[in-house]
């Protein structure tokens, strides 16, 4: 069968790609668009390493077909830093050593960004619940939660 032709927006840029209908959005991002920041951990929506934002909504790219992206707006980890300037969440993850092996980090950053866009002043409990779909086997989560709370404070101007 002919490959599907999809027109979408990725990190603010218009993007066209061809894909097989079986390919997930994650397959397309990594293998067709060579945006390899989003990771495949479980491929079943459990680990959050492939977290992306679609039309303002946090989702797992492994649970969406690439063809479903037609006409939608997708934000990935590659769109997070402004050129050479890291996003405050990225800076705080480094400061707090909120990563070790790094595989979960893009997903955590995208998920945390989505949280702070909706709730600029979350409690620790709210951070932990929001990020419950992102698994990390290195850090024990505490440093991640502290980094997110610290970034939130900085982004509020405090």
């Amino acid at each position: 069968m002919a490959r599907a032709h999809v027109i979408t927006t990725v990190n603010g840029d218009p993007v066209e790609f061809l894909c097989d209908t079986e390919q997930t959005l994650l397959d397309v991002l990594r293998d067709e668009l060579h945006l390899t920041g989003s990771k495949e951990g479980c491929a079943s929506g459990d680990c959050g390493a492939c977290s992306v934002i679609v039309d303002g909504r946090l989702v797992c790219a492994c649970l969406m077909l690439g063809v479903e992206a037609q006409g939608h707006s997708i934000e990935t980890i590659e769109g997070m830093a402004g050129g050479d300037r890291l996003h405050p969440l990225q800076t705080k993850f480094l400061e707090h050593a909120a990563l070790q092996c790094g595989v979960c980090t893009p997903g955590f950053l995208v998920a945390a960004k989505s949280l702070l866009e909706r709730n600029p002043d979350p409690t620790e409990t709210e951070v932990r619940y929001w990020l419950a779909g992102n698994l990390c086997r290195c850090t024990g989560y505490d440093k991640i939660v502290r980094a997110v709370l610290d970034a939130a404070q900085e982004m509020r101007g405090g």
């Binding site: 997930t24 929506g45 989702v59 649970l63 479903e68 619940y129 779909g133």
Partner: protein, 287 residues
């Protein structure tokens, strides 16, 4: 695999009843994509219903709440009117999965995945929700409890799909609640789920009650005798005891890694009691 994203109910029915390979309906995809990836299903046709307006919107029609089959848990949870009309249905949807899953998972998908442990289904059954089912012969209404016939099995015919759910305007003094038991605080599959929807008159006497249970039988069940045990009472301790006895009598669970049949039967009574108390408290506040 052929992928189609029709923009009308009629076009979706044409695709699903086109005489070709039987298609699979795609809503949020949180179950379907996992099954595709695992090779559990290998459909030749997938029909995405998310571009159909009726499947994607929440609206009120003559006081009734109509929730599209592909409306996400997050959207339902953010809908103040839905939450005030049917708090139990909304809390059941919000219990499912992580933030990421909430951004995609839908009522229609949760029902049609046909798991006995689906969280929204006991709440929808307790709420006496009806499905708007579109098919080659037009639209028909099907009570939610009649959709699943066994694990992974649906009563829907060829070419049929669920477009939306209808939830009647709750009468004054009515409310619902849903509780489930899982061994941790978040993101797990129900060991038992219990949905209760009841109405109280001005004196606090129960005039109607529906109790539905998940994960204690091959499908979600409506425990009619459990609801009947509450009607005419003030939902006091002795009425609750009678309700619990009827709940436990209705349970036909299996033993599995999540819990034994005996344990599930016990927990079903406990959860139904707690859900009934929450529903009764809400019902008094709603009056």
């Amino acid at each position: 695999m052929q992928y189609e994203a029709p923009e009308s109910v009629e076009a979706a029915v044409r695709l699903l009843s086109g005489g070709g390979p039987r298609g699979r309906v795609l809503a949020g995809g949180t179950d379907l994509l996992v099954q595709l990836r695992a090779g559990v299903i290998t459909p030749q046709l997938v029909v995405d219903i998310k571009r159909i307006r009726e499947s994607r919107e929440i609206r009120e029609e003559d006081g009734m709440l109509v929730v599209g089959a592909a409306v996400t848990g997050a959207e339902l949870g953010e809908h103040a009117r839905a939450k005030s009309m049917w708090p139990g249905v909304v809390e059941s949807a919000e219990l499912i999965g992580s933030t990421q899953i909430q951004g995609r998972a839908s009522l229609g998908g949760n029902l049609c995945n046909a798991s006995p442990a689906a969280d929204t289904v006991p709440a929808l059954v307790a709420a006496a929700a009806e499905c708007r089912v579109a098919g080659p012969n037009g639209m028909r209404r099907v009570p939610v409890e009649d959709v699943c016939t066994g694990p992974g099995q649906l009563s829907l015919g060829d070419g049929e799909f669920i477009v939306a759910f209808e939830l009647a305007a709750p009468p004054p003094g009515s409310a619902d609640a849903y509780l489930r038991f899982i061994p941790r605080t978040e993101m797990d599959i129900a060991v038992v789920g219990a949905g209760v929807n009841l109405s109280l008159d001005e004196s606090g006497r129960c005039t109607a009650a529906r109790v539905a249970l998940g994960a204690v039988a091959p499908t979600v069940i409506l425990a009619e005798e459990a609801g009947a045990a509450l009607v005419g009472t003030e939902c006091d301790d002795s009425a609750m005891e009678a309700m619990v006895a009827a709940v436990r009598a209705a349970c036909r669970p299996i033993d599995d890694k999540r819990g034994t049949a005996e344990y599930r039967t016990k927990v079903a009574g406990v959860l139904a009691t707690r859900a009934a108390r929450i529903a009764a408290t809400r019902a008094r506040e709603a009056r």
